[in-house]
């Protein structure tokens, strides 16, 4: 998780580079450009996941990886264009904010291959990696309802945007599916990008939700989530993490994490592209492809009872087979 390049001693980086070059010299290296969102590669959540996926590809597939972090949105287009000009073989944009930029640059350079996470673009040279967050939210909703003793649960969103509304809607449906009488408290941290990085406010909201009787909170708020985990530990309640597996952050207080396997999606896309199997169009990752899942590891073994696990698996298969239709905010809105 914390595998960052930064703190490594220089010689190791050097060695890595030498090895990489050595391995990839014979065939000319497959070059991947990764444009990260404003959050940057260390947000322990969404961008981290994308970066991890690309890093894994770098190690295992011997590709050449270059990543940049957006300073401001005006530069996104420029960054994609720069990668395209340098004839990178695959350019990956992370986050919905890049959709416009990718769409424009991709239309101008049809020979270039693009991928975008969380943005839906219909173009032959763009692969859109979409996630069915509502499905996973439904599953963790069921788990939350089972774990709750008070019959009241909470949801804390980061920035109030449709994407996070989608999390909320799925979660709500999941909770009510398990316990139709459950009470659900909802809060959003903010309406600007700051909301992804405001643990203090998140903690405040969590404490107030606990006071209102909630005892499990699902938080989908990027780096702000740590504030909720703090509050959870303080009040001895439970929280549910998001995107990456966050169970390790406060073992014993994090019921589970809803996984959005951006790393897997990025890795698979790179792999396919390298093997010449790149296809344009939208690929949706859901429970079926395990691009969306819930986390079960040594940190939350004791919290998830066998009964809960059984129920979760049951729900999962019901969603996959279509027996349960999870409401999707994107579709209900239109």
């Amino acid at each position: 998780m914390k595998n960052k390049i930064g703190p490594l001693p220089r010689p190791i980086i050097f060695l890595n580079t030498v090895l990489l070059v050595a391995f990839s010299l014979p065939a000319f290296a497959f070059k991947v450009g990764l444009v990260l969102d404003k959050g940057g590669k260390d947000d322990k959540s969404f961008n981290s996941a994308a970066y991890q996926g690309a890093l894994k590809a770098q190690k295992e597939l011997g590709i050449e990886l270059k990543y940049v972090e957006a300073t401001d949105n005006n530069l996104l287009e420029n960054m994609h264009r720069s990668f395209a000009k340098k004839d990178f073989d695959l350019i990956i944009g992370v986050g919905f904010a890049q959709a416009d930029a990718v769409k424009k640059v991709a239309a101008q350079d049809l020979s270039e291959k693009f991928a975008i996470v969380d943005g839906e673009i219909n173009a032959p040279n763009v692969k859109s990696l979409m996630f069915e967050e509502h499905e996973g939210s439904f599953v963790v909703g069921v788990l939350a309802a089972m774990a709750s003793k008070t019959g009241s649960v909470g949801f804390i969103g980061g920035m109030d945007i449709p994407l996070i509304r989608r999390f909320e809607m799925g979660y709500r449906a999941g909770v009510l599916h398990q316990n139709p009488k459950a009470k659900i408290v909802t809060n959003y941290i903010g309406i600007t990008g700051e909301a992804w990085n405001n643990p203090a406010k998140a903690k405040e909201l969590a404490l107030s939700q606990f006071n209102q009787g909630a005892d499990v909170i699902f938080v989908a708020a990027g780096a702000s989530g740590s504030g909720v985990f703090d509050a959870t530990e303080e009040k001895k309640k439970l929280a549910i993490g998001v995107d990456s597996n966050q169970n390790w952050m406060k073992p014993g207080f994090i019921l589970t994490s809803m996984l959005k396997r951006v790393d897997v999606a990025v890795y698979d896309t790179i792999k396919a592209a390298k093997e010449g199997k790149f296809t344009g169009g939208v690929e949706r990752f859901g429970l079926k492809s395990t691009g969306i899942d819930y986390a079960l590891d040594e940190h939350n073994q004791k919290l998830i009872t066998p009964e809960m696990k059984k129920r979760a698996e049951e729900i999962k298969s019901q969603i996959i087979t279509g027996k349960i239709k999870v409401p999707d905010f994107y579709k209900t809105k239109k």
Partner: protein, 344 residues
């Protein structure tokens, strides 16, 4: 000016040596920065796009400085101006959809004027309370930044573009765009660079003349330098201060030209990479002279753009390094300029 240049060279040298410590070849860094600003039409245009907004906010900060006030509210002023410009534009778009280009042009000009006035009003508020209530303008402008951000967010929530995940408003009618007849846009159609650049340059030139040649320029500077003497000698200092803050807001509002009709046609939450705050540095570097602001805005525009390119073209330097460079440059240039002041 010579001193400022010397300070720039020294600051640049310090920055480049830092890159060397970080494990980069400083000449490579320099060439990346240079290419980032001048490498191609598109590069230059994108730099100039930043420059345009920075000229406006630099002027905003400097005119307040001239009146002895510290306007750290340019960020809020430009936000309000941009929101109102978009809001009025959307109002026309939905209620009186333009059918003809000429009508659309009138609409767009009306929207821009409304935006500028709103920016001016956002400057007027702290000016008024400073004068009448003796409230501190730094606190006021800072707080009004938050109010503006809140209003902008609520504006976007209520006018969310249904076709986008991004927090942005619906676009105004494409007929109102200036791009079809904008000669500057044609130079670099792939960038948001637009005619507003000319407006910004003109604004700086005109402000320079007015500030140093006209009566109100004299009154503003006198008030800023010695309020008591101004007041004893026919200059209504309180009014002058309010006026200066209104103008500051108005100039900051100029960013709306660059952002809306010049380029994006919609209000995007967080569109400004803190133009208002970089504007303070721009004004400082130019020592508040409107003409020098043209240069210093370009420099900071280039750094803003260079930040992304450095990240892209080098291994060790990240976007944060550009912030470090900005800071070092401000420090070195202003200290060199001040050194001259003390020596005399």
């Amino acid at each position: 000016m010579k001193r400022a240049l010397l300070g720039f060279v020294v600051g640049m040298t310090v920055c480049l040596s830092l890159t060397w410590f970080a494990g980069e070849n400083p000449f490579h860094v320099l060439s990346v920065l240079f290419k980032s600003a001048f490498g191609s039409w598109d590069d230059l245009a994108l730099t100039l796009f930043y420059t345009t907004s920075l000229i406006f906010t630099g002027l905003s900060v400097s005119i307040a400085f001239h009146a002895g006030l510290f306007n750290i509210g340019a960020e809020g002023q430009l936000n309000i101006a941009t929101v109102v410009t978009t809001g009025v534009g959307l109002f026309f778009t939905f209620w009186f959809p333009p059918t003809h280009v000429a009508v659309a042009l009138i609409y767009s000009v009306a929207s821009v004027l409304a935006g500028l006035l709103a920016g001016g009003f956002w400057g007027f508020l702290p000016g008024y309370f400073k004068v009448k209530r003796d409230a501190h303008e730094v606190i006021l402008t800072m707080m009004l930044n938050f109010v503006a951000a809140g209003l902008a967010a609520s504006f976007v929530t209520n006018n969310q573009n249904p076709n986008s995940q991004n927090p942005e408003s619906s676009p105004v009618s494409p007929l109102m765009s200036w791009q079809p007849w904008d000669p500057l846009h044609k130079l670099a159609p792939d960038t948001p660079f637009n005619i507003s650049f000319l407006f910004a340059v003109a604004a700086a030139l005109i402000l320079g003349v007015l500030l140093y040649k006209s009566r109100w320029g004299f009154e503003i500077r006198s008030t800023g330098l010695n309020e008591e003497a101004a007041q004893m000698n026919s200059i209504p200092a309180p009014k002058v201060k309010i006026l200066a803050m209104c103008l500051a807001g108005l100039f900051a509002g100029g960013v709306a030209l660059n952002e809306i009709f010049g380029a994006h046609m919609k209000y995007r939450l967080g569109f400004s990479p803190e133009y208002g705050f970089i504007g303070i540095a721009v004004a400082l570097l130019a020592r508040n002279h409107p003409w020098a602001i043209l240069l210093s805005a370009f420099l900071f525009g280039a750094l803003q753009k260079g930040a992304g390119d450095l990240d892209l073209e080098t291994n060790a330097i990240t976007r944060d390094f550009a912030k470090v460079m900005q800071a070092i440059l401000i420090l070195s240039v202003s200290s060199f300029s001040l050194w001259k002041g003390k020596k005399k």
